[in-house]
């Protein structure tokens, strides 16, 4: 039963993240057509058809994920309790889901005549989708300030849709609208984007005052740390928005079309970072707000003691000194017929408290990996100058990481430990690590070929920034302590800046590749992402699981 619930639980939360993305896309499209491109002369048939196609796809996807969400959550409830299905259908999430499904279906089947005239009545189902989502948000569950929080959440969702969701449609307009209409649409969008940003910021600030309440909670709780990351990414979006704004101002005088092409590239990156912020928000809704967690917070003194600058650890403890992994303990317990532990995390280094040797082992792993990333960033930085063309070999540094992972990730298995080569493949996490090693090797060779000009396609070049962006999302959203276990939170405090710099590296490289040749920003972006890599390396080299000696 536990496995079944775990699998269903996994699916349920996956669907919640999808719901936020789909509603942003559908509502953003409605806003774009009814407000940004409201005047009929701004939208030709091609643009109208493309926009409606995306709105309807977003709505249909929303129907599918909402049906799956309601069915799965209901099954989890009936399977884990003896509550009959007839009672489960009375739950708030079922009503909210039904409302979202009906509203999204209305958007999907919206009559062709009303689609053509872009009748504002279409806001009825769009607001239905929004209301259903707010009904299942943090704000609806709160005891205090419920009306205020529901209002702020509604504004926050709406502003996200009009800005981030609307960007997808702006990219369409950059391709399909008539030249004159394109400039007007871009100007309208720019104006409304500024309003959306202001609403997003103020609504977010209002919610933070209730959910986080105090400044020390920003670094002292998991919710606060995630909020900090979200605010950092929001600042990056603002920077991109400011760049867009200056391009929009010069669109009239631009005869080369470079401005429109640059806007499209900026739009892609804003959509990417916006999506990351939405996923981070989906992850945040699963966290208890800071205001609910008053015990076990991390203080600034504890952060300084843990992460104050000190020399990296470049000497490893002996393999025999570290604790056995959970898998080994389980294997031995099973063989000896002893009872198995009641609860454990597969793949964790050991059940119980980490010994000094375990900590030293982990610090050595992080610090050495940091050195390799630092080296990679340094070489990438040198390769940007004309004096060091040989530095283009920087992707081969990934091979060092692969070798390091191969030897250090599973110390109890071949070639370091007692478990043989074939035997080690029977353990799931060892298999995962081995697969990761193969992937890293393939990626190193692939990126080396891209960097040295052996592979010339744009799609191939975009793989590296996409991997950085996904890696950043992984780090940003993983390992959240439901309660403030201090050690987990301290680890998260080091991983969150890594995630932010990883995302910055990926999206700056993406923008460098995608901006048209004549755009001056490319020159600066070429230096930004290697510097981000260097910073990631330095953070990893300062990663510690023990406090500084006083």
């Amino acid at each position: 039963m536990a496995d079944l619930l775990g699998t269903f639980g996994f699916l349920v939360v996956l669907l919640r993240a999808a719901i936020l993305c789909c509603q942003t896309l559908a509502i953003g499209g409605i806003f774009f057509l009814t407000v940004i491109a409201r005047r009929p002369e701004l939208r030709n048939e091609g643009l109208l058809a493309s926009c409606w196609k995306l709105i309807r796809r977003g709505a249909l996807a929303l129907v599918v994920v909402q049906v799956l969400f309601v069915v799965t959550n209901s099954l989890v409830l009936t399977a884990s309790t003896d509550i009959p299905l007839s009672d489960v259908v009375k739950a708030n999430f079922v009503w909210a889901g039904a409302m979202a499904i009906l509203a999204a279906l209305a958007l999907f089947f919206w009559p062709a005549a009303l689609r053509k005239s872009v009748n504002p009545v279409v806001w009825l189902p769009a607001l239905g989708v929004l209301a259903a989502s707010v009904m299942t948000s943090h704000s609806a569950s709160r005891m205090e300030d419920r009306a205020l929080l529901v209002s702020l959440t509604s504004l926050h969702y709406l502003a996200t849709a009009t800005w981030i969701g609307g960007l997808a449609y702006l990219v369409f307009a950059a391709k399909r609208a008539d030249p004159d209409a394109r400039i007007t649409i871009t100007r309208n969008f720019s104006r409304w984007a500024q309003i959306s940003v202001a609403v997003l910021f103020l609504a977010g600030l209002g919610m933070s005052l209730v959910y986080v309440k105090t400044v020390p909670a920003i670094w002292g709780t998991a919710y606060g740390v995630m909020l900090g990351a979200k605010v950092s990414l929001f600042a990056v979006l603002l920077l991109l928005g400011a760049a867009n704004f200056s391009i929009v101002k010069g669109l009239d005088a631009d005869k080369t079309g470079m401005g429109a092409r640059s806007l499209r590239s900026f739009g892609e990156v804003e959509i990417g970072i916006g999506l990351t912020v939405i996923l981070a928000a989906a992850s945040m809704t699963s966290q208890p707000p800071s205001v609910d967690l008053l015990r076990d917070r991390v203080s600034m003194q504890e952060i300084v003691a843990r992460f104050g600058p000190r020399m990296p650890r470049f000497t490893s403890p002996n393999l025999k000194e570290i604790s056995e992994s959970t898998n080994e303990i389980m294997k031995k317990a099973e063989a000896a017929g002893k009872p198995l532990p009641a609860a454990f995390v597969p793949g964790q280094s050991g059940i119980g408290v980490n010994t000094p040797a375990d900590i030293a082992w982990s610090e050595y792993n992080h610090n050495c990996a940091g050195f390799v990333v630092f080296l990679m960033g340094l070489l990438a930085l040198l390769s940007r100058s004309n004096y060091f063309p040989w530095a283009k070999i920087w992707p081969l540094a990934f091979l060092l990481l692969a070798v390091f992972l191969f030897f250090r990730a599973d110390p109890e298995n071949w070639p370091m430990g007692p478990n043989g080569f074939w035997e080690s493949f029977a353990v799931t996490d060892v298999l995962q690590h081995r697969a990761a090693v193969v992937l890293i090797i393939v990626f190193a060779i692939f990126q080396y070929r891209v960097e040295t000009g052996r592979v010339k396609s744009m799609a191939a070049a975009l793989v590296f920034p996409a991997v950085c962006a996904v890696g950043g999302i992984v780090l940003l959203t993983h390992t959240h302590a439901l309660t403030n276990v201090k050690e987990e939170l301290l680890a998260e405090l080091s991983h969150t800046p890594l995630a932010v710099f990883g995302l910055l590296a990926g999206w700056s490289r993406w923008l460098e590749l995608r901006l048209p040749e004549g755009n001056k920003a490319r020159k600066y972006l070429a230096w930004v992402w290697p510097v981000c890599f260097i910073v990631v390396g330095l953070i990893l080299m300062d990663y510690h699981e023990s406090d500084m000696p006083v």
Binding site: V12, L14, R16, L77, N92, S141, S283, L462, A469
Partner: protein
């Protein structure tokens, strides 16, 4: 087309990753009996206060007895939307656990256990 497929793949992977680490968010703020406390039997009033509203009709309380048998605890009518109340009667001295599962209005299901010991009356 290839770019589109790659884009969808990136979004899919990102969402899978986010989902993998997301869990429910209802947490206990106060409990009676308190975790790891000693209480006098045989009748023990139970009160669990959460950080969010709870759907009592779709939540469940179980008592794990010292002999590993289980008893379902009847949830009383909610006095406050964030609190579940019940009563365990006729408890003999020994180690017990309250196993709870709650549903928040946002659809999150959360579970947990509260260990406590019953001493003689």
């Amino acid at each position: 087309m290839r770019t589109r497929i790659a884009g969808l793949a990136v979004i899919g992977v990102a969402m899978l990753v986010v989902a993998g680490f997301v869990e429910g968010h209802a947490i206990l703020k106060e409990t009676t009996p308190a975790a790891n406390s000693k209480v006098a039997g045989p009748d023990v009033p139970i009160s669990l206060k959460y950080n969010v509203r709870i759907d009592a009709k779709l939540s469940k309380l179980m008592l794990l007895n010292p002999d590993n048998s289980t008893t379902e605890l009847k949830i009383e009518e909610q006095k406050s939307p964030d609190t579940l109340n019940s009563k365990a009667a006729g408890l003999k001295p020994g180690a017990y656990r309250i196993r709870w599962q709650v549903l928040a209005p946002d659809g999150h299901i959360t579970r947990g256990e509260i260990p406590f010991t019953v001493t003689g009356s």
